[in-house]
C-alpha cells in the first residue's frame, strides 16, 4: 500500500462499506427465491474480489488503519442491527451464530497458519474438545458457564500441547501428517469411548449466565416472543469482536512480526535470534484455545455433541475457509466462513452436492487465485503509521 493517503483519511467510504455488508447480510438471510440467493452469492464474491484491488478498497483499508475506533463501533452497531432485525427468526439467528462461532474457530486457525505457518488439519477436533468439555462440565458440575467456556479453551490448548513436540520436530508434509493423524485418532477415540457417549454423543445443557437462561425464548410485551437464539447470537458477536481485537493487537506488534518471520523463513529468523519454537507454540496453542472456546459455546447452543460433527472432513473445510478468505486476513476469513456455511443452507438445490461443489470451487481458487478473496495487507503497527 502506498503511503500517499491524505493525513486524515475520509471515513465515509469505510462506513458505507460496513453498511453495504450489513444490507447484504440482511438480504442474504431474508430472501427465499433460489435465483435471488444465487445472484446475491455471485455478486458478493465478485464484489469482494474487486474490492481488494480497487482504490475504494485501498481507501477503506486506509481508513480502518488510521481511525479504527469509530469504524469498529460502527461495525458492531451494524451487526447488532442485523441481528435485531431477525430477532424472532430461529433459523436465521442460528445461522448467524453458527457463522460467528465457526468464524471464531477459523480465526484461531488463521493465527496458526496465516501468521505462524503452522498447518492444522485437526481444527474440528479442537472445536470438539471444547464441545465435549462443555458437555461434561455443564452436566456434571456447577461450574459457572463463563468458566466452562474458558475451560473448553484451556483443555483444547492443553491437548494441543501434546502435539507440539512432534510438530516442532517435523517440517512440511510430515507436520501435516501429525495433525491429520490426530484428527482421525480423535474421532475414532470419541466413537469407541462409551464414557463420552460413543457414536451417539452427549447432551449439553443450554448456557446460563448471571441468571439469564439462554435457552428460553424472550418475551417482549404481550404479543411477541423473541427467539432464544438471540441470546446466543449476541453473545457470539461479543466473543468474535473480542477475538478480532486480540488478533489485531497481536498482528500489529512485535509478536505479529515474530510470527511472520518464523513463517516466511525459519532459518533466517533463527539466525537473527528468534526462538522459533516459542512462536510456533504460542500460535498453535492460542489458535486451539480460540477453537475450544468457540466449540464450547457452539455445543451449548445446539444442545449436543457427537463424533460425527468433528471429522477430518470438517477440519478440511476449516482449512479451506482460511485459505479461501485470504491467508492471514481476518475479514476475508469471516467472509469465506459466511459464504461456505450459509450458502448450502439457503440454496437448497446444492445441499446434497455441497461437498462436491465446494471442493471443486477450492480447486479452481487454488489454480487461478491462490491468494484468496481478500489478500493480506502490509503491517501497520499503529493507527496513522506507515508514513516514511
Amino acid at each position: 500500500m502506498s503511503a500517499r493517503a491524505a493525513q486524515q483519511p475520509v471515513l465515509w467510504p469505510a462506513f458505507a462499506a460496513t453498511g453495504a455488508i450489513a444490507c447484504f447480510a440482511y438480504l442474504f438471510l431474508r430472501v427465499e427465491a433460489q435465483w435471488e440467493v444465487a445472484a446475491l452469492a455471485v455478486g458478493a464474491v465478485l464484489a469482494l474480489l474487486a474490492f481488494g484491488r480497487t482504490r475504494l478498497g485501498a481507501a477503506v483499508g486506509a481508513a480502518w488503519s488510521v481511525r479504527p475506533v469509530p469504524l469498529a463501533w460502527g461495525a458492531l452497531l451494524a451487526a447488532s442491527v442485523v441481528v435485531a432485525l431477525f430477532a424472532e427468526d430461529h433459523f436465521a439467528l442460528l445461522l448467524i451464530a453458527t457463522v460467528l462461532l465457526y468464524g471464531l474457530a477459523c480465526l484461531g486457525l488463521t493465527i496458526q497458519f496465516g501468521y505462524a505457518g503452522v498447518v492444522n488439519f485437526s481444527g474440528a477436533a479442537f472445536f470438539g474438545v471444547g464441545g465435549y468439555t462443555a458437555a461434561v462440565l455443564a452436566t456434571h458440575t456447577a461450574l459457572p458457564h463463563p468458566l466452562v467456556l474458558a475451560a473448553g479453551g484451556v483443555l483444547a490448548g492443553a491437548i494441543g500441547s501434546l502435539l507440539v513436540l512432534p510438530l516442532l520436530r517435523t517440517r512440511g508434509h510430515y507436520a501435516a501428517l501429525i495433525t491429520i493423524a490426530f484428527a482421525i485418532l480423535f474421532k475414532t477415540f470419541l466413537e469407541v469411548n462409551d464414557a463420552l457417549g460413543g457414536p451417539q454423543g452427549l447432551k449439553v445443557p443450554g448456557m446460563r449466565m448471571l441468571g439469564w437462561s439462554f435457552n428460553d425464548n424472550i418475551p417482549l410485551g404481550e404479543q411477541t416472543e423473541l427467539s432464544f437464539y438471540l441470546s446466543y447470537a449476541v453473545f457470539s458477536l461479543l466473543l468474535l469482536a473480542g477475538a478480532l481485537l486480540l488478533m489485531r493487537r497481536l498482528e500489529r506488534s512485535w509478536l505479529g512480526l515474530s510470527l511472520d518471520a518464523v513463517r516466511i523463513d525459519e532459518t533466517a529468523a533463527a539466525v537473527f535470534g528468534f526462538e522459533v519454537a516459542r512462536w510456533k507454540i504460542l500460535a498453535f496453542t492460542l489458535g486451539n484455545v480460540l477453537a475450544g472456546v468457540a466449540g464450547a459455546a457452539y455445543a451449548m447452543m445446539t444442545g449436543f455433541v457427537a463424533p460425527a460433527s468433528f471429522t477430518f472432513a470438517e477440519s478440511l473445510i476449516m482449512v479451506s475457509i482460511v485459505i479461501l478468505g485470504g491467508l492471514g486476513n481476518p475479514v476475508g476469513v469471516l467472509a469465506a466462513a459466511a459464504l461456505v456455511l450459509v450458502l448450502p443452507e439457503k440454496l437448497q438445490v446444492i445441499q446434497e452436492y455441497r461437498f462436491l461443489l465446494f471442493s471443486g470451487f477450492v480447486i479452481l481458487v487454488l489454480l487461478f487465485r491462490p491468494e484468496g478473496l481478500l489478500p493480506r495487507t502490509l503491517r501497520q503497527y499503529l493507527p496513522g503509521w506507515g508514513r516514511a
Binding site: 508434509h173 510430515y174 501428517l177 487454488l366 489454480l367
Partner: protein, 305 residues
C-alpha cells in the same frame, strides 16, 4: 490364544500390509519425483475398485463366465483406466501448481480426492451404500493343522508383492526407471540434459495410480465389498506408512506398510475394543515421527542455506 486365531490375525495382517504397501509405494513415487504428497491417492484407489466392479458387471452382461477371464478383465481395466486418471490429475492439477507453496498442492489434491469421493457417492447408482464385490477367486482353503489358509488370500498377497517387486525392478533396472530416478534426484539438471520432464512426471503418476487401482481391486476381492469412503482412510494410512518408512524411499514404503498393518493387528489383539486399533496405530505413528522426524529411513534431501 489358540494358534488358528493367531494365524488368522497374521494372515489378515499380511493382506493389509500388502495393500498398504502398494498405496505407500505410490506416495513415495510421487514424492520422489515431484516433492508432492498426492492426497487424492486413496480416493483414486477407490475409483479403481469401482472401475473394476463396473468392468465385472459389463463383462458378465456380455456373457463372460470364466472367473479367470473376469478377474483379468477387472484388473486390467482398473489398472489402465486409473493410470490415465492419475496422469490426468498430474497434468491438470499438480503440474500447474509446481511453483506454489507446498500447502496449496496438498490442499488441491485433498480437494480432488473429495471430488472423486463425492462423485461416486452422488452419481454411481446408490453410491452411498456399500457395494458387493464379486468373489472371483477360488474360495476354498487349505488347513495346516490348526491353521487355515484361504486360497484367495494367498493369490492376492502373492500378486500384490509381485506388483511391488515389478515396480521396484522398473524403477531400478530400466531406462524409464533411470529417468524417473534422475528427475527425482535433481529435476532441473534432468531437464537441462534433455529429459522430457512432463512426460516422466505423467508416467510416474500413471504407474503409482495403477498400483493403487490394483490395491483397490485387491481389497475388493478380499473383503468382497467396496464403498465410496474406503479411500480416505486407506490414503491416510498409506501416507503414514510412506512417511514412517521415510518419504522417497521405496523400501521404506514397503516397510512402513507392513509396519502399520502390524500395529493395527497388535492393537486389535491387545485392546478389548477392536476399534481402538486405529487410535493405537496412529498414536504410534505420531510417536515415531517425534522420535525420527524424517521417517525411520531418513530422507535424502538437505535444504540449501
Amino acid at each position: 490364544m489358540d494358534l488358528s486365531l493367531l494365524g488368522q490375525y497374521v494372515l489378515n495382517g499380511l493382506m493389509l500390509g500388502t495393500i498398504y504397501a502398494m498405496v505407500a509405494v505410490g506416495f513415495t513415487l510421487f514424492f520422489g519425483v515431484l516433492d508432492v504428497i498426492k492426497f487424492s491417492h486413496g480416493d483414486v484407489l477407490m475409483v479403481g475398485a469401482f472401475t473394476g466392479l463396473v468392468a465385472y458387471l459389463g463383462l458378465s452382461a456380455l456373457g463372460v463366465q470364466s472367473n479367470a477371464l473376469l478377474t483379468l478383465g477387472v484388473m486390467l481395466s482398473a489398472v489402465l483406466l486409473i493410470a490415465l486418471l492419475g496422469a490426468a490429475l498430474a497434468r491438470w492439477l499438480v503440474l500447474p501448481l509446481r511453483g506454489a507453496p507446498p500447502i496449496n498442492l496438498l490442499l488441491i489434491t485433498l480437494m480432488a480426492g473429495t471430488v472423486l469421493r463425492e462423485a461416486i457417492r452422488l452419481f454411481y447408482p446408490a453410491g452411498a451404500n456399500p457395494k458387493p464385490f464379486p468373489r472371483l477367486l477360488p474360495a476354498d482353503s487349505v488347513s495346516f493343522g490348526a491353521l487355515t489358509l484361504r486360497f484367495d488370500s494367498a493369490i492376492l498377497i502373492a500378486l500384490g508383492l509381485a506388483s511391488i517387486v515389478a515396480v521396484h525392478l522398473l524403477v531400478t533396472r530400466t531406462r524409464l526407471g533411470l529417468a524417473i530416478r534422475a528427475v527425482a534426484q535433481d529435476s532441473e539438471t534432468a531437464q537441462v540434459v534433455g529429459m522430457n520432464f512432463q512426460r516422466i512426471v505423467l508416467v510416474t503418476f500413471a504407474i503409482g495410480s495403477a498400483l493403487a487401482a490394483l490395491a483397490g481391486v485387491t481389497a475388493g476381492l478380499y473383503y468382497n465389498e467396496i464403498n465410496f469412503g474406503m479411500g480416505l482412510l486407506l490414503g491416510v494410512i498409506g501416507f503414514s506408512a510412506a512417511v514412517v518408512g521415510g518419504l522417497g524411499n521405496l523400501y521404506g514404503a514397503i516397510l512402513g506398510g507392513f509396519l502399520f498393518a502390524g500395529l493395527q493387528t497388535l492393537g486389535a489383539v491387545w485392546f478389548a475394543v477392536p476399534a481402538y486399533k486405529d487410535v493405537f496405530a496412529f498414536a504410534v505413528v505420531i510417536l515415531v515421527m517425534t522420535w525420527r522426524p524424517t521417517g525411520l529411513i531418513a530422507e535424502q534431501s538437505a535444504e540449501r542455506v
